[in-house]
């Protein structure tokens, strides 16, 4: 499939939250695109803004505390940021769907799963109940649930964790949206079930051509499923590019650090892990320069006071780091040499 047609374009997105402690800058000037039929992974540690970015696309940032302070999210010629809530409701579930980490708290335990699947179909397609029921059965079969007719009448507690996740995927996909956003969809699952769900994502994408944005902190999952990767740190995209470039030629010290700190099954046990020292910065008062500078082994004077610009490494691979500046060549050479991924 041609994966170059632009479907979604986020530019200059800034999201802030009001709290008792002051204003938090959860997402700071994030820009990226999503192409038709591709899987984009957004990775980063807790608090890096990956979920808030996804929720902003769905316009699910709670308005009484949070707001999209700047930027645009272009989808099919419309700016999602400017749409009214009513227009947004027409879009959610029909054009863009989202699934969450924990199905047990995301779905309603007192309504049968059939009703929950049919709700979206009836709302968006204005079809009869029997037609909605037919579609619900079809989608349950697609996500791999046996005996869909009898399962429709059941409630959430009658399903296992992996099955619940399949049901959430069914609800999200039933109106054939063009974008599926999955926020940590496998984090709560055991590895054997996680493997089943990842395979399900892949087969669904092949069958329906849906574009997927997957948010995760697990680089193993990213390697398995993603075409392109955005690495986020402290509310910013620090590196982005095709999955192979990110894993085999990481440029940002944070991306390198993340990859090095993960234990690998095929690694020698006697070599200690190389963690990233310290903890992420306080987003109440983000540092004026690069947010990673305080934890970075290669930080220069300029890193602490000035934001690095986004520079292209090669093709679609780009990184926001001062080490890419021609004046930092020496440091870059030192950094590339010993790690050698």
């Amino acid at each position: 499939m041609d994966k170059t047609e632009k479907l979604l374009e986020v530019s200059g997105l800034r999201v802030t939250f009001k709290t008792h402690g002051g204003e938090v800058n959860a997402v700071r000037d994030v820009s990226f695109t999503l192409n038709k039929g591709e899987t984009l992974a957004i990775v980063g540690e807790s608090g890096c803004g990956k979920s808030v970015t996804a929720k902003s696309i769905m316009r699910l940032v709670p308005e009484y505390i949070g707001k999209i302070a700047a930027g645009s999210i272009m989808f099919k010629g419309k700016d999602l940021v400017a749409l009214s809530e009513k227009e947004m409701r027409e879009l959610r579930g029909k054009e863009i769907s989202m699934i969450f980490q924990d199905a047990m708290t995301s779905l309603n335990p007192t309504i049968s799963i059939g009703e929950q699947i049919m709700e979206g179909i009836i709302r968006h397609q204005k079809v009869s109940r029997s037609e909605a029921r037919r579609q619900a059965i079809e989608i349950l079969t697609l996500v791999g649930i046996a005996n869909p007719e009898s399962r429709l009448k059941q409630y959430l507690h009658q399903f296992s964790g992996g099955m619940r996740q399949r049901i959430m995927i069914a609800i999200a996909l039933v109106c054939r949206p063009s974008i599926l956003i999955a926020d940590e969809p496998t984090t709560a699952l055991d590895v054997t079930i996680q493997a089943q769900i990842i395979d399900l994502f892949k087969s669904i994408q092949q069958k329906t051509g849906v574009s997927i944005i997957i948010i995760t902190h697990d680089l193993g999952v990213v390697a398995k499923i993603a075409d392109r990767v955005n690495v986020m740190y402290a509310g910013k995209v620090v590196e982005s590019g095709p999955v192979r470039d990110i894993f085999y030629n990481p440029q940002h010290p944070y991306t390198k650090g993340l990859l090095a700190s993960m234990p690998r099954l095929d690694a020698d046990r006697s070599v200690p892990l190389s963690p990233i020292p310290g903890t992420p910065p306080d987003l109440f008062a983000p540092p004026p320069g690069c947010a990673f500078a305080a934890r970075c082994n290669y930080a220069l004077e300029v890193c602490r006071n000035h934001q690095p610009a986004e520079t292209s490494v090669h093709g679609k691979h780009s990184v926001a780091c001062w080490l890419q500046d021609p004046r930092a060549k020496k440091v870059l050479a030192v950094m590339q040499a010993p790690t050698g991924t």
Binding site: E45, S46, S160, G161, G162, M163, D190, V191, T192, I193, Q194, A195, Q196, I198, D199, H217, D218, L219, G220, V221, V222, A223, K224, A226, V243, R244, F247, Y248, G257, L258, L259, S261, M262, P263, R264, L265, D266, A267, R269, P272, L273, S274, P275, I276, P277, T279
Partner: protein, 319 residues
């Protein structure tokens, strides 16, 4: 040199009664030894009984059957004086660094509580010891008067480690100590645990579901499924030549952070879900999901036996 068995778990069975005549066998005939100074890893998916096993070893649960010997003393039948020795020598680190620290106590009180209960380091010595422990786990003495909410997850886990080590234990049970932490912080905590082990000759029982991390930290690993130990060996052997089909599937299900390898790798994906432990399958508990199950697997429970040097498994393939 014959290594000393610090902990011996013999035929441990723990059944929880659920009412209505139902019972749940959380751990079923589990046996293993932990040698002094080593790290024994216990892995398995949720509900496999790994935490129950850990909690029974430390004496939080009474076993339904079987026994646990610590340094030759039965943990569950110890006399009062033996009991106080055991509680000092076995300590625990918990999964959730948010729930396992009392929010109303400051760090000095949290770390010093064990010292107080055991009547160790009295008077001014106690604060000195607390500061020593804080520095040992990579925190500073200024932190002693702060409260848990002022710390990040990784720092809290360091506090939990300092608390466990305050009374100079020999044996530490770590129940999913890193699964609530971010990747880069996980590595910090694991390196800290390994360094402390070397410095203080600690013995660890490391319980986790992340096989890559367990392999990194453990000398030997036991794999559990639905209350049963299915395989046990050194971590290298277990990774290089897993014998039990469940271990093979588990290893194959873990995604590796390497896109090319992920695309080329052949995977054994096992179908279905873990059956209910209230009504486990007859014979081998894994047979309902096992790709190579035979008729005999439903009839007879496989015997736990040595299939290779220092490599044990319970599977009909090897009987």
């Amino acid at each position: 040199m014959e290594r000393k068995k610090l902990v011996q778990v013999k035929n441990l069975t723990k059944t929880f009664t659920l009412g209505k005549g139902l019972s749940l066998k959380a751990a079923c005939d589990v046996s293993f030894d932990i040698y002094e100074g080593e790290t024994f890893g216990l892995v398995g998916e949720s509900g496999c009984g790994k935490s129950t096993t850990g909690r029974t070893i430390i004496g939080l649960y009474q076993p339904t059957f079987g026994e646990v010997l610590f340094d030759g003393i039965n943990v569950h039948k110890a006399s009062a004086s033996e009991r106080s020795q055991i509680t000092r020598n076995i300590q625990m680190i918990f999964q959730d660094p948010y729930a396992s620290l009392n929010p109303r106590m400051n760090i000095a009180e949290i770390i010093g509580e064990g010292l107080h209960l055991n009547g160790l380091y009295k008077g001014k010595e106690r604060m000195k010891r607390v500061i020593e422990l804080l520095e040992m786990v990579g925190l500073q003495k200024e932190h002693a008067n702060r409260f848990p909410h002022e710390f990040s997850g990784g720092q809290r886990q360091r506090i939990g480690i300092a608390r466990a080590l305050a009374v100079n234990p020999k044996f530490v049970i770590a129940d999913e100590p890193i699964s609530a932490l971010d990747v880069s912080v996980q590595a910090q905590v694991v390196n800290l645990m390994k360094n402390l082990q070397r410095e203080q000759n600690l013995t660890y029982l490391f319980i986790a579901h992340d096989l890559a991390m367990v392999k990194h930290i453990s000398d030997r690993i036991g794999v559990m499924y639905l209350g049963n130990m299915v395989e046990m060996s050194t971590s290298e052997k277990l990774y290089e030549s897993p014998k039990h089909p469940y271990t093979q599937a588990l290893l194959s299900a873990i995604p590796v952070p390497d896109p090319d390898l992920e695309k080329s790798r052949e995977r054994k994906i096992i179908e279905g879900d873990v059956p209910s432990p209230i009504n486990p399958p007859s014979g081998c508990v894994f047979r309902t999901r096992c790709p190579v199950a035979k008729a005999v697997c439903a009839e007879k429970k496989p015997v736990w036996q040595e299939v290779d040097t220092d490599h044990f498994a319970a599977c009909h393939l090897y009987q």
